[in-house]
């Protein structure tokens, strides 16, 4: 977070995961590979992705609502994915 004439930079992390019930071929393949490597105790593997975003805005709320709009327009696929936005620590 750095000051620049009233505009601050806010950092967020967007966590995106597939909706429950949708197949996760990457997870299934990795689960099998881990079992083949001898990790027989693995019972579930699921992949997700994170996007770190810095946004310049007048307030935390304005920055967050911009990130919400980015998720809805570009970052996440609302048909298949859920997303969660949190401020970066």
């Amino acid at each position: 977070m750095c000051e620049d004439g009233g505009i601050l930079t806010y950092s967020f992390i967007v966590s995106i995961a597939r909706k429950t019930g949708l197949s996760d071929p990457e997870g299934a393949t990795t689960h099998k590979a881990l079992t083949d490597l001898g990790f027989t105790g693995v019972s579930m593997v699921a992949f997700g992705r994170t996007i770190s975003i810095d946004v310049e805005a007048m307030s935390q709320d304005e920055a967050r609502s911009q990130v919400e709009a980015m998720c809805a327009k570009l970052l996440a696929n609302p048909v298949m994915e859920t997303y969660h936005i949190e401020p970066a620590s």
Copy 2:
């Protein structure tokens, strides 16, 4: 976490990110796309991935060391990536 004759299931989340200084073409492309969409306040976009893993083990420590070994052997690329393991909440 479910009991099964002394063996418990432990859940972890592995967060994997590129090492600092490595190029992130996915992030750069997304940054450009967001700017083109009108989100001109975006100053940084970086992609990472998360892997959720359930492991059956006798203890949390044993489960965690298994996940450490999985990261070293398969899940992360130690040349280009850093990883962080935490218990799933």
